[in-house]
């Protein structure tokens, strides 16, 4: 990591983005004192991790990369064991509530060796939540989950932040998921901070990136170049892309139809994905 500095606001979801090998997991390991930084300092809840490690970790729940668990223990046994190593009292009701929250109540007594990757991921999140932490650090929490599982985790993150006031730091390669839940995002590349800010401000909701699909791209480009849309045209070899104000998308559609361009569709692209690619490819 190289001079990485960022702040996470309490009660918000913080999206932590970067390509594979960019240093996301290394950063998270440093936050959890699994790796010792060579220099610099980390403060969580206003306390320094090297001095108040135990007090800080009492209020933190985390999953890191893979959901590695004990194959010979059941889901309930995992939660019971990790409840025992917390200083506050965690009862049977709390464990049942956590199992319900991560959708594993019906498999509570089954050994983890019979679980799918998605179920292990959910149990990993359950372990992170069982002691009701203030800060939840989720490193790739949707890895191995099916679409329904991903949606469930998204809802859970939103619930934890909105309803329970938790601070959630989440890293993921599923940018659309981050875009939907994160108040703030940080993009890192090769260990360096590329950009940090409020998601809405960074993504400029007034403008959308759209891809125009036609059977005759040359004709479509003529229409765009002739009209007022030429300024929005993005230089891309893989198709016709425009960064266009949202309100002008119907006008663009109308112009193309009037010019009898054989239109297959106008697709609004994922803006965070586009932004991410733009940031990291320029680095």
């Amino acid at each position: 990591m190289d001079d990485l500095s960022f702040e996470v606001q309490a009660g918000q979801v913080f999206g932590f983005l970067g390509q594979n090998g960019s240093g996301k997991s290394t950063t998270i390991r440093m936050l959890l004192s699994l790796i010792h930084p060579t220099s610099g300092q980390i403060e969580i809840f206003g306390k320094r991790i090297e001095k108040d490690r135990e007090a800080i970790l009492e209020q933190v729940g985390a999953i890191i990369e893979r959901p590695d668990l004990y194959p010979y223990l059941s889901a309930r046994e995992h939660l019971e064991l990790f409840a025992k190593v917390r200083k506050q009292k965690i009862g049977e009701a709390d464990i049942n509530a956590t199992l319900g929250k991560v959708g594993l109540a019906h498999r509570a007594k089954d050994k983890v060796q019979t679980f799918s990757l998605g179920m292990k991921q959910r149990l990993g999140i359950g372990i992170a939540l069982v002691h009701n932490p203030s800060l939840i650090i989720l490193d790739e929490p949707t890895n191995g989950l099916d679409p329904q599982g991903i949606a469930d985790i998204r809802q859970l993150i939103q619930y934890l932040a909105k309803e329970e006031g938790k601070t959630v730091l989440v890293s993921s390669h599923l940018l659309s998921e981050i875009e939907q839940v994160a108040h703030q995002i940080l993009i890192i590349h090769q260990g360096k901070k590329m950009v940090e800010g409020v998601t809405k401000e960074l993504l400029d909701p007034e403008k959308r990136i759209v891809q125009i699909k036609t059977t005759d791209d040359a004709n479509a480009l003529k229409v765009i170049a002739a009209g007022s849309f030429s300024n929005y045209l993005l230089s891309r070899s893989e198709g016709i892309y425009l960064k266009i104000p949202t309100r002008e998308i119907p006008l663009l559609n109308e112009s193309l139809v009037k010019a009898e361009v054989a239109l297959l569709g106008i697709e609004t692209k994922n803006s965070l994905e586009d932004y991410f690619l733009q940031i990291t490819s320029n680095a």
Binding site: S33, I35, H36, E54, D68, Y72, K84, V85
Partner: protein, 291 residues
């Protein structure tokens, strides 16, 4: 701290591998006891054949006390290998599973976790020894009965009255616990250096074999290091069965021939335990948890 130890014990005793050692010890002891029960008289005759002309021994030579001694001689060499199966897996096994990071992100220091793991592995070792004692001593006493303990050493014989035997076994088992805890701590140290279990398990076994050979070889070069090797001291539980004699060459009940030797061995073994566990703590504290 107790909650961490309970967690570690729960994990140890939830794994099928843990019971292999208990099963192996039970199987070995039962087979030997069965063999001696069926053909014990021939074995006793074989033992006594060299001294039958000069010495007459009354009573039952092949009694529960002698059987236990024979079993301990056989098994206390191999039990360390069974101890290594668990001790050498305590940290490396978790590193391999990836669960070490789950433990080290709880609000307890790494030192506490390492100590809790060592204490849990030690409890397993002691339970294994108690199991061995129960089967080798008490079951043998029940099957073969009790009488005076007659032992043949390399160039002399020892006869210990039956009412003077049991406490010696208690002493021998307490001593053996120090010896096995040294193996536990060695396995633990190697475990802290690795991210898979096979290396530390094989490493512990190899170290025991290697140092045992050094301890038994009478080469002057090795004589210098022998007193400092833990393997030199591991078999000194036998000292509890060497007895002092008076001027008439009569055994002195309740006596031990060489108490300083036992004390020295316990000190050396304890120092090894402290050294190995301290080194494990230092290594784990400095280690970056990447797995």
């Amino acid at each position: 701290m107790w909650s961490l130890i309970k967690v570690e014990l729960y994990k140890i005793f939830s794994r099928p591998r843990t019971y292999i050692a208990f099963g192996a010890i039970a199987a070995l002891i039962v087979v030997i006891q069965l063999g001696l029960k069926i053909d014990g008289d021939s074995y006793a005759s074989f033992l006594m054949k060299d001294i039958n002309d000069t010495l007459t021994v009354d009573g039952k030579v092949l009694n529960g006390y002698l059987i236990c001694y024979i079993l301990l001689q056989l098994l206390l060499v191999h039990v360390p290998l069974l101890v290594a199966l668990i001790a050498a897996d305590m940290i490396s096994g978790e590193a391999n599973l990836g669960t070490l990071r789950l433990l080290f992100t709880t609000p307890y220091s790494r030192t506490r976790w390492v100590l809790a793991k060592f204490i849990a592995a030690s409890i397993y070792t002691i339970l294994l020894l108690i199991w061995l004692a129960f089967l080798a001593l008490f079951v043998s006493m029940w099957i073969f009965g009790t009488d005076d303990l007659f032992l043949m050493k390399s160039n002399y014989v020892v006869l210990i009255e039956q009412n003077d035997v049991l406490w010696r076994y208690v002493g021998a088992f307490v001593f053996a616990s120090f010896a096995l805890l040294t193996v536990t701590s060695l396995g633990f140290l190697l475990s802290s250096l690795s991210s898979n279990s096979i290396g530390p398990i094989v490493g512990t076994m190899s170290a025991i074999v290697f140092f045992t050979i050094l301890s038994t070889l009478n080469i002057p070069l090795f004589t210098l290091v022998k007193p400092y090797l833990f393997t030199t001291h591991m078999n000194n539980w036998k000292e509890f069965f060497d007895i002092q004699v008076n001027a008439n060459n009569e055994a002195i009940t309740g006596s031990i021939l060489n108490i300083p030797k036992i004390k020295t061995s316990i000190v050396v073994l304890t120092l090894h335990i402290i050294l190995f566990v301290s080194a494990s703590i230092i290594i784990i504290k400095k280690k970056d948890i990447l797995s």
